[in-house]
Point group: C2
Chain length 676, copies 2
């Protein structure tokens, strides 16, 4: 089937490698229709491609490969691109958040996935949510009369907000707050662009007034002069040094030595400090973590796209790469034909679809909850919070392990920067530790699940994603034959049973520990093993259910719905096979049934084989975004790896300084000695 869908994602003049063309010819569906499904409609796809093309085709955004840059070059180019991008978005009159995001992503595709100065948006959001009605800071930030970042994490303090040490002490005599870092570990550490770029920051600090501490509040602080960018008195700033990735960003540190700021710089929409120092508590603080939930929700879909990018590279390369021999004399087959390779690739294609559907659902859930909240219903927040936390952790862990497995599925070449994998992994893997460390996130989900169990036991009913906990599903899996394991009901029943069993098991263990006399936090700490298992099982079910619901809702052509159903089956069956122990533990499934599951998995691999390349084409990731020689749409891998290598800075000279300084003298000395 012709593949007009992705023709836009490659150089117009390039010839398609016949091995990869052959793959596209065997597809049973039109990839364009699947792209529409992911985007949410043909119009969206077309608009996205148009917006992206504005950036992809703009030579102002061209630069050399970041793998060839020094850190200094990378940082400078990243600032250049960010400033350019802001100006162009304004000139192009693109204001819609999604459209601006498409443009920004395309403009930054050659650099990194995280654009410089990217926290300005979060700062604006924070001011909007938390500042009083004065538009002072918001206007300045929106007009880029200042550059700001968001300072929360400290050298000694991360996820546990209450542990922050930075203080903001109110002085009624001057109506100022005194910002101070009382210890080394109180230094702000990690905020993006804090080191060298921003002029201002929203700073989280312990508020002291009238001798009493009222906990963490937010303050707007100017850090550098708007005249010459020098740090202001009492403020020490710097870059925190190189990291695994994010070489383009000057993550920074900040130390205050008794720095005075006006009282009005406190963001006072919720809590207030009056001129005389009287503290006024917020009426309801519940929305204060809204932007955190928003970011976690966004990570879910983003993990789907990152995994899609990785599996696109690996699948296309596997269609071009040939190795070993299956039939003597028949030549080397495509590595895509090896079952072991299919086992690495195809379940990850399915997972990338699953996570993108989950991302759309999280987006929807966030929007719906916001509606509820604005009509005064705060009850939806705990479930939203628990779901966002859990799915953020679940999807990022799976995606990052997947990225490395897919890189290694490309053999040695995956290790070359030309594959695109090293940069992708280095820049994306923080998703597991930032915005709430994954284990902490799973434990937060578990906390909500335990609350649900307590509610159930006390006779309360509830709706939403946790309602399966109240159901009484079958105690045995009903599958009699391999075909039964293609039935979504059989598959989802199994996931429901497993999650329910593990959640209740964790609750029982927790109960027992508390009844044995342990204080609740200590009892809790001794059940982490069970609680994390429960949260994972719950999230796995949630993703499977969302994926299936998405496939059911789809209005795409039958051929597309069929292949999506195969992807759902692959996702669910692969999970059964991998997590078999949790389905076997209480006899819900038998060993014989899991033997069937393995055979069904193998059948699904075969069924997917002719569609593999087209399934990744449908992700519609432009070559410029991919940043991978091995993942090119045209499949012309080897000639381009060679071209890329030739252009590497190490090849600037035939004979390097290391020869003149060390190798040459050493060899000549040894040769001379041997002649003695």
């Amino acid at each position: 089937m012709a593949s007009a869908a992705t023709a836009v994602s490659m150089d117009p003049g390039a010839k398609i490698n016949p091995d990869i063309q052959k793959e596209r010819d065997t597809a049973t569906f039109d990839p364009l229709h699947l792209t529409y499904e992911l985007d949410g409609g043909r119009e969206v796809t077309e608009r996205r491609r148009y917006i992206e093309s504005l950036a992809f085709n703009d030579p102002d955004f061209d630069c050399k490969d970041v793998a060839f840059m020094t850190r200094e070059e990378n940082y400078t180019n990243s600032i250049r691109t960010a400033v350019l991008c802001i100006k162009k978005l304004k000139a192009l009159d693109i204001h819609d958040i999604t459209e601006a995001m498409w443009y920004r992503r395309a403009a930054h595709s050659r650099i990194a996935l995280f654009p410089a100065l990217g926290l300005q948006g979060m700062v604006c959001h924070t001011i909007e949510t938390m500042d009083t009605n004065r538009q002072h800071w918001l206007e300045k930030a929106q007009n880029y009369e200042l550059l700001a970042t968001y300072c929360q994490t400290e050298l000694g303090h991360g996820t546990f907000l209450r542990g922050l040490e930075t203080t903001a002490t109110y002085d009624p005599s001057t109506e100022e707050f005194v910002m101070h870092s009382p210890t080394l570990t109180a230094m702000k550490w990690w905020p993006g662009n804090l080191g060298k770029s921003v002029t201002h920051a929203v700073v989280a600090a312990q508020l002291y007034t009238k001798g009493k501490c009222y906990g963490v509040h937010m303050f707007m602080v100017q850090l550098r002069s708007l005249e010459d960018h020098q740090s202001l008195p009492g403020i020490e700033l710097g870059d925190i040094g190189p990291k695994m990735g994010y070489a383009n960003i000057d993550n920074g540190f900040l130390r205050f030595t008794h720095v005075r700021i006006p009282r009005e710089n406190m963001l006072m929409k919720y809590s207030q400090v009056e001129p005389d120092g009287t503290y006024k508590a917020p009426p309801a603080a519940k929305l204060s973590y809204g932007s955190m939930i928003l970011i976690r929700s966004a990570i879910v879909g983003s993990m789907g796209r990152v995994l899609a990018q990785a599996v696109t590279i690996a699948t296309r390369y596997s269609a071009v790469r040939r190795q070993s021999e299956l039939i003597p004399g028949a030549g080397e087959p495509q590595v895509l034909d090896f079952q072991s390779q299919q086992l690495k690739l195809f379940p990850h294609i399915a997972t990338a679809y699953a996570f993108q559907f989950a991302g759309k659902q999280m987006h929807q859930m966030y929007a719906d909850s916001l509606d509820q909240v604005s009509s005064g219903n705060f009850n939806v927040l705990p479930e939203l919070h628990a779901t966002a936390a859990g799915l953020k952790a679940f999807t990022s862990s799976v995606a990052m392990a997947g990225l490395e497995l897919l890189r290694m599925a490309c053999g040695g070449h995956g290790y070359s920067a030309s594959s695109g994998f090293p940069l992708l992994y280095a820049n994306e893997s923080p998703a597991c530790t930032y915005e709430g460390e994954n284990t902490v996130m799973l434990l937060q989900t578990a906390r909500f699940l335990m609350k649900c169990v307590r509610q159930l036991k006390s006779g309360q009913s509830f709706k939403g994603a946790m309602s399966y906990l109240a159901e009484r599903p079958q105690s045995r899996c009903s599958a009699q034959s391999e075909n039964d394991f293609l039935n979504p009901k059989v598959l989802l029943d199994a996931y429901r049973h497993r999650a329910q069993r593990i959640v209740f098991h964790a609750a029982e263990n927790l109960d027992k520990a508390e009844k044995s006399g342990l204080a609740r936090p200590l009892a809790w700490n001794q059940q982490h093993l069970y609680l994390i298992r429960a949260a994972n099982a719950h999230c796995h079910l949630a993703v499977a259910e969302i994926f299936f619901a998405g496939v059911q809702r789809s209005e795409a052509p039958e051929a597309v719905k069929k292949v999506l159903m195969t992807m759902f089956q692959m996702y669910a069956v692969h999970g059964l096979s991998e997590k078999r122990g949790e389905f076997l533990q209480d006899g819900y499934m038998t060993g014989q049934q899991l033997d069937m599951v393995d055979r069904v998995l193998i059948r699904l691999l075969k069924e997917t084989r002719p569609n593999a390349v087209t399934l990744v084409d449908s992700f519609d990731i432009h070559d410029k975004h991919m940043g991978s020689v091995m993942g090119r749409y045209d499949g012309n891998v080897y000639e381009n790896m060679y071209k890329w290598a030739k252009s590497a800075p190490m090849n600037d000279k035939e004979v390097k300084d290391a020869y003149h300084l060390y190798i040459g003298p050493f060899l000549k000395e040894n040769i001379a000695n041997s002649k003695l």
Copy 2:
């Protein structure tokens, strides 16, 4: 207990962080005795420390942190260090292979784990094994009158040796071979130091003589002039470009255009080409893969040490890092007190011990096999080959996944280059794809296992690591209580049963597929799922058995033997819990038994807690080798992270060029506009 053991691994003047001192005070054993056990005796430890100190204390090896270097600086410094190291080893009269390795590792500790010019040894080994008796090349290589690398992998060809495309065509008229790269994919690609450093290479090429191809043979080829280092005519050389790690090494490409070399440059110990072009086949080619097995065997122990390094960093940091609250008002506990953190750390401490024992065993097995071979017994080779391949894959996969989990267990700070994790992972993860890609390796182990099953079925008996396949173990796990799961026999029986069941299951499936009429290679390809599972189960058992045998053999003081036994139990119990499905599948274990296993795991965590820091101290990895601010012996993490960050090149100027070029003009324009 005092810890004289590791006092040498830190700056003499440093003060120990009280949190970490407290950990050392609770240990139940002397870490020094455990270090002796790992090293193989007190004398070995003392000698190793002495040799290492020669390099650690030599200011000639000092250099700035590699994280602060450009690639060019890194490469040049790496060559400098390698040349210096060779000269110093000679001056110090250190010739023993192990001692030289200790010295080289210490000298290179600040740079990378793979020293430049490191393939000279492999080239010498290849010449010794495969060349005729003429000592020509060996002497030159040993005296460093030439620098050589080993060229096998090509742009289009890796693991499958027979697929190599480079040709060596014999021309009897001049008694020369003509080396040629007939296609782009025939270019040699990846060899270490090929790009810019070496002058010679041992090249694997398809031998053609008298119009016939005789397969891959080895040839010594001069690549660059010994006068001025220019590439010789017909030879194109270059660096293959940046990679995920190994920035210090110029992995290179090499293209031949009809390059002539003398007939004598073929390594002719086994096969020969006579002056008239007559080919003489080798009498027995079996030893030709000896150096490959040697390297794979060495990787096993090395993965144990790499994991030890990672878990040392994470455990020490977890003793210093404080977070959240367990008991309200009691302050933030050490993260080492959280069960979820213990679940990440302690099983990896156990695994690091297990793999180091496995490494010693592989070393012994290799030496024993070599003895057998020299007395004419080639029968031991297939088992040696299968074991080295499988354990290389098994240990490297587990270790690399462990490294990332341990990095993330350090939260955001693990992502900083100051943690040491990014460099460690980037430089070690190729262990999964080089020297035989892991999946291919597991399939080779599976091939041998299937051969064993066929032998068993035909009534043949055999000895060695696969002999458990012939046993008839119990069909049910005998454990009645939690304590039974501390019994090594119960634990090992379970692993034996599981491996046996899965190996036979794979063999049955293979049989069925062949009987259904599929050609053997196609049948094989359709059973990868089962075959890889079988190889992993076998390797898991092998490591557990080796670990237990090592603990039993130990002559260390009782307190050390006791803690080693706890580590063995931890390794085995954690494996049961993680791989529960494979023990439940046929009813060998029940769900109730696996509930006990989880409880035993939790008990073992508690038992390990007071010894955690001392267990990693016993790995005796010097601070200079660790290259991690967070893994310091003295635990003074934060002040040193700050110092390190201040010294980063990005902090060379308070106001960077990016401000003058982009940020400043942008802000000023926006401020001016707002005033209009």
